[in-house]
């Protein structure tokens, strides 16, 4: 009787699935620990930067004057004033950059994906790769040499925009190219089969399908160039007053303001202004990223 029960409980063959071996469990543990460690190493500096910028800049940004006034006429240790002149400069310089870089970048991407064959396409891709590796200081000095030394223009916000174009262009080309390549060839063929010419297929079918991703890429590139510092240091002078003219005169921007306060204003007020401007820049870039997400959701192809 007992033996019979035992027999029933005893499987005839050993179970196919064994317990995890100790060796694999140890390896799993080590891998998990390493992944977590890498995650912390990546996140700690990020959080640290955010927290310190917030902690030291929040009281400056929380003031309405900060967004509505310039630093014109204020001395280094004067309390008050604001950075709207620098916000204006940052926005206008990078928007001008986008106005130039986006159409060119998009057209290059369309050429590469839809028309590019053979040597010229390879050469273009190679150039874009090189351009994307150019450090911003090199782009700035190149524009200085071309625009100011050779062509004889003055330093201005527009010169900054030109340098930013060199930095933004490869990013726009790359991201738009990726997005256009994601559009399935079946859609192009469906369009050709309806007797729609190639250029119209690109404009009305391919680009709308890829638009959401293209816009995201552009907004992220824009946010990226807005924080660039080398071009503003080299190509335009700082002024505490607002200058609406992109094409002449000194023009502030947020990175430039921070640098100028750091170099020429040792007072605690200067430090406050630097942290305030840093937080302002972070906020504006965060807003751009948010806008990118919303915009891409708005134009993304819908299912229902």
């Amino acid at each position: 009787m007992t033996t019979a029960t035992l027999d029933v409980n005893q499987p005839a063959t050993p179970p196919a699935f064994q317990h995890l071996s100790t060796g694999r469990r140890v390896k799993n543990g080590i891998a998990t620990a390493l992944v977590w460690l890498a995650f912390l190493v990546a996140v700690i500096p990020l959080v640290w930067v955010l927290v310190s910028v917030l902690a030291r800049g929040a009281h400056m940004v929380a003031n309405a004057d900060w967004w509505q006034q310039s630093l014109g006429g204020l001395l280094g240790d004067d309390v008050g004033g604001g950075v709207y002149h620098a916000i204006y400069g940052s926005l206008v310089q990078s928007l001008m950059c986008a106005v130039i870089a986006v159409p060119i970048g998009l057209l290059v991407a369309i050429y590469l994906v839809e028309y590019g064959r053979g040597r010229l396409a390879k050469a273009t891709t190679f150039m874009v790769d090189i351009l994307s590796g150019v450090p911003s200081i090199v782009a700035a000095l190149f524009i200085y040499a071309m625009w100011i030394t050779t062509l004889g223009f003055n330093r201005s916000g527009f010169a900054v925009s030109l340098a930013l174009v060199l930095l933004m262009l490869p990013v726009v080309v790359r991201s738009s190219e990726d997005m256009l390549r994601l559009v399935p060839d079946e859609l192009r063929e469906a369009s050709y089969a309806l007797g729609i010419p190639k250029w119209k297929t690109i404009v009305k079918i391919v680009i709308p399908t890829a638009l959401s991703g293209i816009l995201t890429g552009i907004m992220l590139a824009l946010a990226r160039v807005m924080g660039e510092t080398a071009p503003v240091l080299v190509l335009v002078g700082y002024s505490g007053y607002i200058n609406y003219d992109l094409f002449s005169g000194e023009m502030a921007s947020l990175p430039l303001l921070m640098n100028s306060e750091r170099v020429s204003n040792p007072s605690p007020i200067g430090t406050d202004r630097i942290w305030g401007a840093a937080l302002t820049l972070v906020i504006i870039i965060a807003l751009f990223n948010l806008a990118a997400t919303l915009l891409s959701r708005l134009v993304a192809p819908k299912k229902k």
Binding site: R117, E186, L187, E189, A190, A193, G195, P197
Partner: protein, 258 residues
């Protein structure tokens, strides 16, 4: 205005690869011609060269003549865009435009050709959707995205899109291969219906389908891997399925083919 097609000694290449060798066949107007044959024998390739879709692929080219009511569509003065407008195509996988509504998908061909008149477009959309047997299912959600339909509905949407531009010829590359039996029957009925106005060429792997819908059947085969595909024979569907002249055709149809 269905038109007849005459293909004369057509050789088709993908770059250096000779894909199809010396095809000669005729498709009378207002009839259905089925292309059958083993995978890779060049059925899609021949079909795509009937409306100059073949040359869309980089390096692809065609030698020989394709006459549409006597006019060579490969003549140097002919615009491939106009050829494709006259000879429509439905693909194996449904491919509605994801950014467009159901209605805009159907009238895409006209709209992108510059037709602006809204009531005219609405009329065309309804006529094409009715023609494709889809109207009743979608008439209440014409402004919803086309990607939200089921696979069979999407395929019928693509047929509606193809007939909305009123082509003379309709080419279909395995239009039912992704569909359930009921949608398949719906599309076969539709093909029989469309035959009244269009010349239709359909590629299919389904013998019963070829037997059910087609008037004549063309059997393609290839001698071996890397060899070009050839047209083995083309004849009335009844004849091909009951009493083919070629042994290869009989073997293929009776399932004795490798």
């Amino acid at each position: 205005m269905a038109k007849r097609i005459d293909v004369k000694d057509l050789n088709i290449y993908y770059g250096k690869f000779h894909a199809v060798d010396g095809v000669t066949l005729s498709v009378p107007p207002r009839s259905v011609t089925a292309f059958i044959g083993p995978s890779g024998c060049g059925k899609s390739t021949v079909l795509r060269s009937l409306n100059r879709m073949h040359e869309v692929i980089p390096g692809a080219r065609v030698e020989g003549d394709v006459l549409l009511d006597g006019q060579n569509i490969y003549a140097s003065a002919v615009d491939p865009v106009q050829v494709r407008r006259t000879i429509g195509m439905v693909f194996q996988r449904p491919n509605p435009f994801p950014t467009m509504s159901i209605r805009d998908n159907v009238v895409a061909g006209l709209k992108l050709a510059g037709v602006r008149n809204k009531s005219q477009l609405d009329e065309v959309a309804e006529r094409a959707l009715r023609g494709a047997n889809l109207w009743n299912e979608v008439k209440d959600r014409l402004n919803r995205p086309g990607g939200g339909l089921s696979g069979g509905q999407q395929q019928r949407l693509c047929i509606a899109r193809a007939i909305a531009v009123r082509p003379d010829v309709l080419l279909m590359d395995e239009p039912c291969s992704a569909l359930d039996p009921i949608s398949t029957l719906a599309i076969e009925d539709l093909i029989t219906e469309l035959k009244k106005d269009y010349t239709i060429v359909i590629v299919t792997h389904n013998m019963q389908q070829a037997a059910r819908v087609s008037d004549q059947t063309a059997f393609f085969n290839l001698a071996g891997v890397g060899q070009p595909g050839r047209l083995v024979e083309i004849d009335d569907t009844e004849k091909i399925f009951s009493n083919p002249t070629q042994k290869a055709t009989e073997d293929y149809i009776s399932g004795r083919f490798g």
